[in-house]
Structure formats: structure tokens, C-alpha cells
């Protein structure tokens, strides 16, 4: 199975093609993108880091759980690591199913559970510093370059 993670752009169309078939009448796609504003602050870009082997296993388990619950659904998920410019996709989930109830439900379940459980971290890069989301005390001043070096590859190898 392909990795659920990529250091570059997420190819959403390829992800859709990987699950679409003429047995499935419904395809629900969720794409999360990097927003310009976060709680009133101007964001310059996002940066993602993962505990890669654990995160791969987590996403695979979440997709397997969705397929157990909606057996006719085909599901694919991809998350970006490293720098993510504004407007570009940080995560994409596609669920194809015979009918739209299953497609919507499976897609929603996977994105909700990946966000809640997978060991992935998002850093917001502001004009005046950086901060890890969910860890307010992590703010470091110094602008866009402050966190360079560490985590530049966006993830950890095994």
C-alpha cells in the first residue's frame, strides 16, 4: 500500500482515481488546506511533522476501521509533511461507495479520526514567529525561519 504521507503536493485527482470505479456511484472527497488566518493572526505557511511509523500505522488502522464499518466503501487518505504553502492541501480523504450516505459517512469518519488520533503535528508560521497548534507555550519568536533545520524533512524515519 502506498504511504499515507508525502513531502510534496498531494495529488487529489490521483487519489480519487485510486478509489473510483463504475461500481461506485458516489465519491466524497475532503481536502484540508492551509488557511491564511488562524484565530485572528496572519499565517504565512504551515509546517507538519509526524511520528512517521506510528502515523502510517494509525492511518492504516483508521482506514481499515472505516472499511469494516462501510464494507462497500473504497477509501484513500494522504497527509502532507514539511512545509505547506497557503491554499495548498495539507490532507485529503476520498471515499467511494455505491451510495452517498456511505461515501459521506466514511469520508467524515476518516478525516475526524485522523485529526483526533494520528501522531501528526501542525506548526503555524506567522510573520513574527512560530507555534505548534494545541501547544500555546511553544510560541517562538523569530519569523518564518525560526524553526528551520529541525524537522525540515517534515517527519521522522523509522
Amino acid at each position: 500500500m502506498a504511504s499515507a504521507f508525502t513531502d510534496g503536493r498531494i495529488d487529489v485527482e490521483a487519489l480519487v482515481r485510486s478509489v473510483a470505479s463504475d461500481e461506485h456511484g458516489a465519491i466524497c472527497t475532503f481536502v484540508g488546506t492551509a488557511r491564511r488566518r488562524s484565530e485572528g493572526k496572519e499565517v504565512r505557511r504551515l509546517r507538519y511533522e509526524a511520528y512517521l511509523p506510528m502515523a502510517e500505522a494509525a492511518v492504516a488502522e483508521i482506514v481499515a476501521a472505516a472499511r469494516a464499518r462501510w464494507p462497500q466503501a473504497e477509501i484513500a487518505a494522504r497527509h502532507r509533511l514539511g512545509d505547506c504553502p497557503l491554499g495548498e492541501a495539507s490532507v485529503a480523504v476520498v471515499a467511494a461507495a455505491p451510495h452517498r450516505d456511505e461515501a459521506f459517512a466514511a469520508c467524515r469518519f476518516v478525516i475526524d479520526t485522523v485529526k483526533a488520533q494520528a501522531p501528526i503535528w501542525k506548526q503555524e508560521v506567522f510573520t513574527d514567529g512560530t507555534a505548534w497548534v494545541g501547544d500555546p507555550a511553544s510560541f517562538r519568536s523569530g519569523g518564518a525561519g525560526a524553526a528551520g533545520g529541525a524537522g525540515a524533512a517534515g517527519g521522522r524515519g523509522p
Binding site: E49, H79, P119, Q123, W132, A137, S138, A150
Partner: protein
């Protein structure tokens, strides 16, 4: 012990080598040692993974470590 995100930045590195833990030391003992190394470790509520599985919040930290265990400290996740 692997560190991520804000914890990695606070420590200035992504891995700690914990020396001198006694045989049969618990996860909590390893964390106590990390407290001496990572400034502000408790400023964020972190979870602990042992061999890439999340430890139960209830009493997972009382488990005894085994040779070669991979421990990781995970700040609140924020993927997506």
C-alpha cells in the same frame, strides 16, 4: 526517547538517550529523567507511546521498560 513538535523544539533535539535507568525501571522513571533534560516538559500535556502504541493514560506509565523499547513523548496532535 523520541521527542516531537514543541517538545522537540524545547529539547533542541529529537531524541534523548536515557542512561543509568535501573533494570525494571518504569516509563514514569524514564519521564522523570527526561524532565531533567527537557525544559518545560510539563508545560504541555503529552501522551506516551511505547513501541509505537499509545500507553493507556490510566496506569500505562507504571509499566516496566524492556531492553530496546522505543519510547516517544507526543504533544497534543494537530494533524489535518
Amino acid at each position: 526517547m523520541l521527542l516531537f513538535a514543541g517538545l522537540r523544539e524545547r529539547a533542541g533535539r529529537d531524541e534523548l538517550v536515557l542512561d543509568g535507568l535501573p533494570a525494571g525501571a518504569t516509563v514514569e522513571q524514564a519521564i522523570a529523567q527526561a524532565r531533567g533534560i527537557v525544559p518545560g516538559l510539563d508545560s504541555v500535556a503529552f501522551a506516551v507511546a511505547r513501541n509505537r502504541r499509545l500507553l493507556p493514560a490510566a496506569n500505562g506509565r507504571r509499566e516496566a521498560l524492556a531492553e530496546g523499547d522505543e519510547l516517544a513523548l507526543l504533544p497534543p496532535v494537530s494533524g489535518g
